[in-house]
């Protein structure tokens, strides 16, 4: 997709050990992706308090992405397993409140998956754009 999607605000929460490093790897590999995502570094997806995501939407974020280590690879052993439970629950609850499914995403990106990170961001941006453009 086109990397230029103006006026679309996506907040990305990336775990320090895998996904943040993976996003660094995207840079090292010079893979491009849309610039709408603003990354907030967190230690682990286990730190991800659903409140922060609700706050992000409340503050006007169009989309939110949370990305962590693949299951089994968590630097802290279990954090991403807890996140893997919070995510479907939160997604379902947000949708119930009218926050469209296309606006909230999660992914596993390891420290070596620079290309995957770019793909994930492209997909998330496209989904959020689809929501905004087509309702």
């Amino acid at each position: 997709m086109d990397n230029k999607v103006p006026q679309l605000n996506i907040v990305g929460f990336l775990c320090n050990w895998c996904s943040y490093a993976g996003a660094d790897m995207t840079g090292l590999g010079r893979n491009t992706y849309p610039s709408n995502i603003k990354v907030i570094r967190i230690p682990c997806t286990g730190r991800m308090d659903p409140m922060m995501i609700i706050e992000a939407f409340h503050n006007g974020a169009d989309g939110v992405l949370v990305s962590g280590c693949h299951p089994g690879d968590c630097h802290y052993t279990e954090g991403n397993y807890y996140w893997r439970r919070r995510y479907p629950h939160l997604k379902s609850l947000l949708e119930h409140f009218g926050i469209d499914k296309r606006r909230f995403h999660a992914s596993w990106v390891s420290a070596s998956e620079g290309k995957k990170f770019a793909e994930v961001v492209k997909k998330v941006t496209a989904e959020v754009k689809d929501w905004r453009d087509n309702g």
Binding site: N3, K4, P6, N9, V11, N16, W17, C18, Y20, A21, A23, D24, T26, G27, L28, R30, N31, T32, Y33, S35, K38, V39, I40, R41, I42, P43, C44, T45, G46, R47, M48, D49, P50, M51, M52, E55, A56, N59, G60, A61, C69, G72, D73, C74, H75, Y76, T77, E78, G79, Y82, W83, R86, S110, A111, S112, A118
Partner: protein
């Protein structure tokens, strides 16, 4: 009121080539609390850091934002800079405008600049809420665990032990030695592998600081740098410590069903066996899946012949749990299994063998005592075809990487063949010759020029079995001709792949591995032996394919890292840990339930005068700062230093607000 300094790095043209850094700095200067904002060519350089230090003094700054590369790269650098200028090191935030902006948004400089401004602004928002944190220290168990008894593990163990620290060397097989013990000669010197390895094996066994644990596996790991707690399974050898290694049991054992792992299944081995004559320790083990007694309940010949009564059929697997301060992972590699190469006969043609099998065939300690004969009919060979890049540089087989040693070992094997049998002819099918290394290219040239090895640039399309011969069809792309060679033996240069179970093993330590299963180093250039897990180091081919000198160098490097760690009195640990506000804690035990480190304790405590409540408390020395408790606490009583709710919320708020750039 915060006094923030913002420092925007050009990183040469890395950032400045895409991002309008002066605009970022100008915007930074307009933000509340920012007292100074400057841009500079290389912030991490000495003059760059001095710019920061000067600004701290001149403007009385108490917190910094450095807009530059990834915090994973230079956060530590700028924290030290802050410390040198008298600021608490945790009052530093980085805005990653290189990896996360310049390098990925080079297609639109305006959007990239806007994003850089935003990320900088978010870092300013975060640092505004930063709190001074003091360093914490943890004890170090000055004992190293080396996993894998190949040349990498042996070298690492010897070096660490040499510095005076205790080492436990764990090996899965009954003997240490690893892959190198299987090799005949080594390139480019053609010296005997065993001759240079065996003394090291013996040295390891005799070093008072090294404890060998063979036939053992690591099954569980918890803890962290300085304090790893490792559970190790000592597999039942069925032979106890009375064994003197006389070898009578092995000689008398009637079972011949099992195939020798050491000889790459080219020969049978006994059910009670030592993998090879020079094994260290020289103590046999009983393979219970092959032993007649264990299979039928009858036999016990070994017990009868043992002069010291060392045979113990009742031995059980035993688990031990020990503490270590650091771990060297040197678990080695497997060679690529060519059974899914249709053109090479799916691994079903007996006389198409692997490079490692060839090593055993030509080794004087091998099953044929060094006579290169065909596995199928034991005939001597005349024409031998070597095929390179089997399971290497092959996108279709999902092995696109180069295994780095196959070009060299093929040349070596072709030369050895010629040395042993001057009348033979060796052909080598290759893609490219990769012979970077001291005396490597000369070595390959010798193979071609002095030994008359015929190098054909191209791939083999098919191997047929015909009239006791192997018909090798391939292309010589240099001459453009199709070639057909009638060979007696085909030797494949199988590439390296991660040890079977490598990924599962990585999960024990929560190390990350790449898509193939090779373990990831912390940084490909600047931290090649460290892993993302502090205190865990990698050496040898478990990290990527490499030759013996590189492996040994890497092993010694891990030893240096371990020694540097152990040389410290105490370990400095990040104070980025959780803390409970007991006034707001509801005592529901959710945090206690989710903590992966059992770092939360529940207590009945007087939180207010006269009010005793059941509340949580963080054990500071145990907490690793993952924040699982913070994510789960609905009373909002737990917070994580360095990633507080206030900081994250302000980052979120800033991320979603428009840029007010004018």
């Amino acid at each position: 009121m915060a006094r923030i300094g913002v420092f925007v790095c050009h990183c040469g043209t890395n950032i400045a080539g895409v991002v309008d850094v002066t605009r970022v700095a100008k915007y930074a200067g307009s933000l509340p609390g920012v007292k100074v904002a400057v841009d500079y060519k290389f912030m991490c350089s000495d003059p760059g850091q001095n710019t920061i230090i000067d600004a701290i003094k001149k403007y009385g700054l108490d917190r910094l934002v450095v807009s530059a590369c990834s915090p994973r790269m230079h956060e530590a650098t700028f924290r030290r800079t802050a410390e040198r200028a008298g600021i608490n090191p945790y009052m530093v935030e980085m805005a990653n405008i290189r990896e996360h902006v310049a390098w990925v948004h080079s297609d639109d400089k305006e959007l990239a600049t806007q994003k850089a401004m935003k990320l900088m602004e978010m870092a300013v928002a975060k640092v505004r809420r930063s709190e001074a944190l003091s360093k914490m220290f943890a004890p170090i168990e000055k004992r190293a665990l080396v996993i894998g008894g190949g040349i990498a593990g042996i070298q690492a163990a010897l070096d660490i032990a040499g510095a005076g620290y205790k080492v436990l060397l764990v090996e899965k097989e009954p003997s240490i030695g690893g892959r190198m013990a299987q090799l005949d000669k080594t390139f480019p010197t053609l010296d005997c592998s065993a001759c240079i390895l065996t003394p090291k094996m013996v040295a390891a066994a005799q070093d008072p600081n090294i404890t060998l644990l063979t036939y053992a596996e690591v099954t569980e790991v918890c803890g962290f740098v300085g304090q790893f707690e490792v559970k190790i399974k000592k597999k039942a050898k069925s032979v106890n410590s009375k064994c003197i290694g006389c070898g009578v049991c092995t000689t008398k054992c009637p079972s011949k069903k099992a195939l020798s792992e050491f000889d790459e299944k080219l020969a049978p081995r006994k059910a009670i066996y030592t993998p090879f004559p020079q094994a260290v320790p020289n103590v046999p083990v009983i393979d219970r899946t092959a032993c007649t007694f264990f299979l039928t309940g009858k036999c016990k010949i070994c017990e009868k012949v043992c002069p010291t009564g060392a045979i113990d059929y009742t031995q059980q697997d035993e688990f031990i749990k020990e503490k270590f301060g650091a771990v060297v992972v040197a678990t080695g590699f497997d060679i690529y299994d060519h059974s899914n190469y249709g053109e090479y006969g799916y691994g079903e043609i007996k006389d198409v063998i692997t490079g490692l099998q060839f090593e055993r065939l030509i080794s004087s300690t091998g099953p044929t005592a060094g006579h290169v004969t065909r596995p199928s009919d034991h005939r001597e060979v005349k024409n031998v075809v070597f095929i390179q890049c089997v399971g290497s540089r092959d996108e279709a087989k999902k092995r696109p990487y180069c295994s780095r040693v196959c070009c060299m070992y093929t040349a070596k094997q072709a030369m050895l063949l010629k040395d042993h049998y001057p009348e033979t002819q060796a052909y080598v099918f290759y893609i490219d010759i990769r012979s970077a290394g001291k005396n490597y290219e000369e070595f390959v040239q010798r193979a071609q020029n002095e030994y008359g090895v015929l190098y054909l640039r191209g791939r083999v399309s098919k191997i047929y079995e015909r009239a006791n011969k192997l018909l090798v069809k391939g292309a010589d792309t240099l001459s453009g001709a199709q070639v057909e060679i009638e060979a007696d033996l085909v030797v494949l240069a199988n590439g390296f792949e991660p040890k079977k179970g490598a990924k599962e093993f990585a999960q024990l330590f929560h190390m990350s591995s790449d898509q193939y299963g090779f373990y990831n180093e912390l940084h490909p250039k600047l931290a090649p032996v460290e892993t993302a897990i502090s205190g865990v180091f990698v050496a040898g081919c478990c990290q990527s394919p490499k030759d013996i000198p590189d492996t040994v160098a890497m092993a010694s490097a891990t030893a240096a890292k371990v020694c540097a760690l152990f040389a410290k009195e105490k370990l400095e640990v990040e104070p980025l840990i959780a803390g409970v506000n007991q006034l707001t804690c509801s005592g529901c035990e959710t945090c206690y339930n989710v903590c992966p480190y059992s770092a939360i304790e529940m207590k009945d405590k007087e939180v207010k005068r006269g009010e005793v409540r059941h509340v949580a408390e963080v054990l500071e020395s145990v907490c690793k700062g993952c924040g699982a408790c913070v994510g789960a606490c609905y009373s909002k009583a737990v917070d994580l230093k360095g990633f507080t709710d206030r900081q994250v919320l302000d980052q979120v708020e800033t991320a979603t607000a428009p840029i007010t750039d004018n």
